[in-house]
């Protein structure tokens, strides 16, 4: 359905997107994940034909976007960042405008509007002005215009950004519902969203793809095992570092600086904890006692997407 080949785009001397290639099929929900400014929105703008890439090409439904921009845009439903809308319009008029431009036959126009209104629950606000709506409703209007023509490819730029938890949940439910019949590419910097709705996650950093896998696969990459985070009130001595490094239980050790000035460690275990026991925890605590360190924070768990994300986009 969608194929991006080596998309590259620079703004003045900043390379916003650097040779991004990926493809997506019907039934897939691809999460574009990355810190702010990683090039997510720019990539989406190129897929939708709003921006032309400096080099590279996008194919939508087998058609070159650069050569058939009007045709490919017919196949795409797009929710731009911050869901911009013509705020002085009534919701109904706005949807009608989009439907007209999208070339929906006037006989089926009313029915299609009814369908999307029901799908995103806009019944209550249909005759209100868009600028009088809450953020959540505005976002739903944005989604409604993106799906009014039943597109095969849906591009959603931060669809849940700025919404409250309930609204976020609603939008994610809708995405899950739509996912069965479409190819969806969405961008986000919210990791739980990826785990909740995406079948695939592409992590971008500084314009480059740094990982492309299922959310579970990415977690595996971070390390198959569990992890222990531990923070101390004090700075640790060099000897402590050496002793902890000598532990065979830990596959990998990262040290980090706590904001208050203390030291923190992230210790990766080779195996996930199946019974809640964390190997090495006992000896770690014994060592802590020996060095007379004050533990201010500790977390035991399995490595999460967040860890992968932090690791890859540092």
């Amino acid at each position: 359905m969608l194929e991006a080949k080596s998309l590259t785009k620079s703004f003045s001397d900043i390379r916003a997107v650097d040779k991004v290639s990926f493809s997506a099929k019907k039934g897939e929900v691809v999460g574009f994940l990355g810190p702010n400014g990683a090039g997510k929105s720019t990539t989406m703008k190129m897929i939708t034909g709003f921006l032309a890439p400096d080099s590279g090409e996008t194919f939508v439904g087998g058609l070159k976007v650069s050569k058939n921009s009007v045709e490919t845009r017919k196949l795409i439903g797009y929710l731009p960042e911050n869901a911009p809308l013509y705020s002085e319009m009534l919701v109904r008029d706005f949807l009608q405008f989009v439907a007209e431009i999208r070339g929906l036959a006037s006989s089926s126009l009313g029915k299609e509007i009814e369908r999307v209104v029901e799908e995103v629950s806009l019944e209550k606000v249909l005759d209100r002005r868009i600028d009088k709506l809450s953020k959540g409703f505005k976002r739903r209007v944005g989604l409604a215009q993106a799906i009014i023509h039943q597109p095969e490819l849906l591009i959603l730029d931060e669809p849940t950004d700025g919404l409250d938890p309930n609204q976020k949940h609603e939008v994610r439910k809708l995405i899950n519902r739509l996912a069965q019949t479409k190819c969806i590419v969405l961008s986000t910097h919210i990791l739980e969203e990826v785990e909740e709705v995406c079948s695939r996650a592409i992590i971008v950093s500084e314009g480059k793809i740094v990982a492309d896998d299922s959310p579970a696969g990415l977690c595996q990459k971070a390390g198959p095992g569990g992890l222990i985070d531990i923070s101390f009130k004090e700075e640790v001595k060099e000897e402590f570092r050496e002793r902890i490094a000598a532990f065979s239980e830990f596959r990998e050790i990262h040290e980090f600086q706590e904001e208050g000035g203390g030291s923190g460690f992230r210790l990766f275990l080779p195996e996930p904890s199946s019974n809640g026991d964390f190997e090495g925890l006992e000896s770690l605590l014994a060592l802590t006692k020996e060095f007379d360190l004050t533990v201010v924070n500790m977390r035991c768990g399995s490595s999460r997407l967040e860890d992968v994300f932090r690791e890859l986009t540092k």
Binding site: F50, A52, V70, Y78, P84, E88, M89, E100, R102, G103
Partner: protein
Amino acid sequence: MNFGIIKSIVKREFRAYFSTPIALVFLVVFLVLSGFFTFKMGGFFERGQADLRAFFAWHPWLYLFIVPALSMRLWAEEKRTGTIELLLTLPIRLSEALLGKFLAAWAFIGFSLFMTFPIVLTVGYLGEPDYGVIWAGYLGSLLMAGSFLAVGMAISSMTKNQIISFVVSVSVCLFLILLGFEPLVSSFYQVLPDWFSRHLLNLSIPYHFESIQRGVVDAADVIYFLSLIAVSLMINGVVLENERGN
């Protein structure tokens, strides 16, 4: 070019004027100012002639400020709010969006101009005007407004900032007026070679408006205004395409 799409855009844009205070403010200011210019500055009654010269003579100056006030938002606002991304990712050609927006704004100015009809009734009541000259005046005025509008719209496409858009548009339109401004023309043009000043004068808006408003609808004048509109729309298109990297 799909006329159905252009129609939808014109409809949306035109309605937007009336669902915001723009229409009301524009109409009131336009009508009050044209009344002021006609009766106070133009000496409509004192002239004792049943024509609308006093009304039309000030139109270049009236449009100089009022048309950029209307055109300044055409693209700048779409850019600031991000709706340009929504509009230009719909399956439309840029030319359709351009024409739709332009025609809606032009139609709105046409509507405002239409609202000055009481003045036509007034001259008709007071004397026996030559209606041919009056219609020519209206045609010239509408063409001139369209030219200012297209220039202003092209400038609006270059910025997100409506104030910049307004100030630059007024300056460019002022330049187009001054090229044919009588006091300036008579002194300044004398020092220039004859052929050069003739060309400059030919580029000026008042030069062409003057002759239409006298009742002589010359094809050259109409073509001048239409070309000014076409060139401005083309520049507008190039600016937007260029910005998107095409």
